[in-house]
């Protein structure tokens, strides 16, 4: 078949022979988890901040994976990933475990309610979830003191605007997830 020939020709030209190559199961399944954990760790490193300024990258990546590739992460993924985030984020321990689990359930409900979606709709939903997450997380962090949530505004704006970039990054990761490696001999 002509189509098959061209496909094979392209694969040969791009250095990927079709035969004898397959995605690594570990990478295909593990990459989403790894990327989100890296997001949680890396959000603490670049700056020594004197106000909450960095978007919560772990959470953004979780949302992006959930929206770009539903079903790849199980509904309960919020617990283990939130645990790692709690170790680094400085929030009271358990805050991300609770809020990320709730977000995953919430996204599931939203998806079943509004199965017809568009890019703008996805972004709006993500913005709403991010806003809710930041406000609730701040409430938990300041449960024992009396601080206003006004400091959150810059972080919220940055997070919502950065989300499409996070989605771009995650979609690149999603392609890398299925890179084909030489198997066996």
């Amino acid at each position: 078949m002509p189509q098959g020939w061209t496909g094979r020709r392209e694969a040969e030209l791009s250095g990927q022979r079709a035969l004898n190559r397959a995605p690594l199961p570990l990478l295909a399944r593990g990459l989403p988890w790894l990327v989100i954990v890296l997001g949680s760790v890396l959000q603490t490193l670049p700056v020594i901040a004197s106000a909450p300024v960095m978007p919560p990258f772990g959470f953004l990546f979780l949302l992006a994976w959930r929206q770009l590739h539903p079903g790849l992460l199980p509904v309960w993924a919020g617990l283990p990933l939130g645990l790692v985030d709690d170790l680094y984020s400085g929030q009271p321990f358990g805050s991300a475990m609770l809020l990320w689990s709730a977000a995953m359930i919430g996204m599931e409900v939203i998806e079943s309610r509004f199965p017809w979606r568009s890019y703008v709709m996805d972004w709006l939903v993500a913005a709403g979830v991010i806003a809710g997450y930041l406000v609730l997380a701040s409430g938990l962090a300041h449960a024992t003191s009396d601080r206003a949530v006004t400091v959150l505004a810059p972080q919220l704006v940055v997070s919502v605007l950065v989300f499409p970039l996070a989605e771009r990054f995650i979609s690149a990761c999603d392609r890398a997830r299925l890179w084909r490696f030489r198997m066996g001999g």
Binding site: T44, D86, L87, Y88, Q91, S95, M97, L98, W116, T144
Partner: protein
């Protein structure tokens, strides 16, 4: 396009159970999170061991990033320096003249202080830094203000030690792991530093404001005597911070206090020093009050500290 509905499991019993238990696990996860949260509210140090291990694990990456961070900052500032070199040089030359005179005066006063302290038989508490370190990470995406130090138990750091940079107080050590330590920055809303006005010793508390500034709350209420530009230093009460470490300078007044800018901006300081607690350095460890800051609602704290303040005034 509507996405394929993963919830429609068809007749496969296995798929049905899989989806069902997925939801159960998610709800259980949320409950576990709520439980952990309750535990950490009751005992904030409950998970410090796990946090310490986690911080130790990424410390090497943090060290590399911290070195790069200070390198980048110095490159930017030297670039900027080319543009502002002339006027700054002139201003610095003028300041140097004044400072030389003041330094000579200060030296004589230090000598006099030593003499007077010797007369009174007071131990001269001039703590030497225990370790120098970098701040390698911070909770940049959380409203809480913690930073991670690149030294820990291996260099003798223990809980409660003050951390300062050349410009002033940075915070105090809250949790210690083997190679890292967690510092509560002075800008954290739950950090409460006993301070006094450098000029006349007017006592106050400096509490973090959450946005990088400090809220100065006076201990004795009444007419607000503060002015923009007042400098606050640690007062030494509480036994953690050595008296006289710079904390902040007032930028605007509030009804019963002021908002102060932190003098030692942790974003700028690449190296910090860990000191022994003041009470330990002064060989009076029994004076070390149980860590003062955390929860207590502000009104209560004021009331509790008031007798001490009046005693001081007398």
């Amino acid at each position: 396009m509507a996405p394929p509905n993963a919830r429609r499991t068809g007749y496969s019993r296995r798929a049905q159970y899989g989806t069902f238990f997925g939801y159960l696990a998610a709800i259980a996860g949320a409950l576990v999170g709520a439980l952990a949260l309750a535990v950490s509210f009751l005992d904030p140090t409950a998970f410090s061991g796990a946090r310490g291990l986690a911080a130790d694990a990424v410390a090497p990456a943090g060290r590399v990033v911290a070195a790069g961070r200070s390198g980048g900052q110095s490159a930017l500032s030297s670039l900027w320096g080319y543009f502002t070199w002339g006027p700054r040089h002139a201003a610095m030359a003028r300041e140097l003249e004044v400072a030389r005179v003041q330094l000579a005066e200060a030296r004589s006063q230090t000598a006099e202080n030593h003499r007077l302290k010797a007369l009174l038989g007071l131990a001269d508490a001039d703590p030497h830094p225990l370790a120098f370190a970098r701040l390698i990470a911070s909770t940049a995406s959380s409203p809480r203000r913690y930073a991670t130090l690149s030294v820990g138990r291996d260099r003798g750091v223990t809980t409660g030690m003050p951390v300062r940079s050349a410009e002033g107080v940075v915070g105090r050590v809250l949790e210690v792991a083997e190679h890292t330590a967690r510092v509560l920055l002075v800008t954290d809303p739950e950090s409460l530093v006993p301070v006094m006005r450098a000029r006349d010793g007017l006592p106050a508390f400096a509490q973090g404001h959450g946005d990088g500034t400090l809220e100065v709350r006076l201990i004795s209420l009444g007419i607000n005597p503060l002015k923009a530009g007042d400098v606050f230093v640690t007062s030494g009460s509480g036994g953690i911070y050595t008296p006289g470490m710079a904390v902040g300078v007032v930028v605007s007044l509030t009804r019963d206090g002021a908002i102060a800018r932190v003098l030692s901006d942790p974003t700028q300081s690449s190296f910090v020093a860990v000191y022994p607690s003041y009470a330990v350095a002064a060989r009076m460890p029994e004076a070390l009050a149980p860590p003062p800051p955390p929860p207590a609602p502000p009104a209560k704290t004021k009331k509790k500290k008031k007798p001490a303040a009046t005693a001081e005034a007398q």
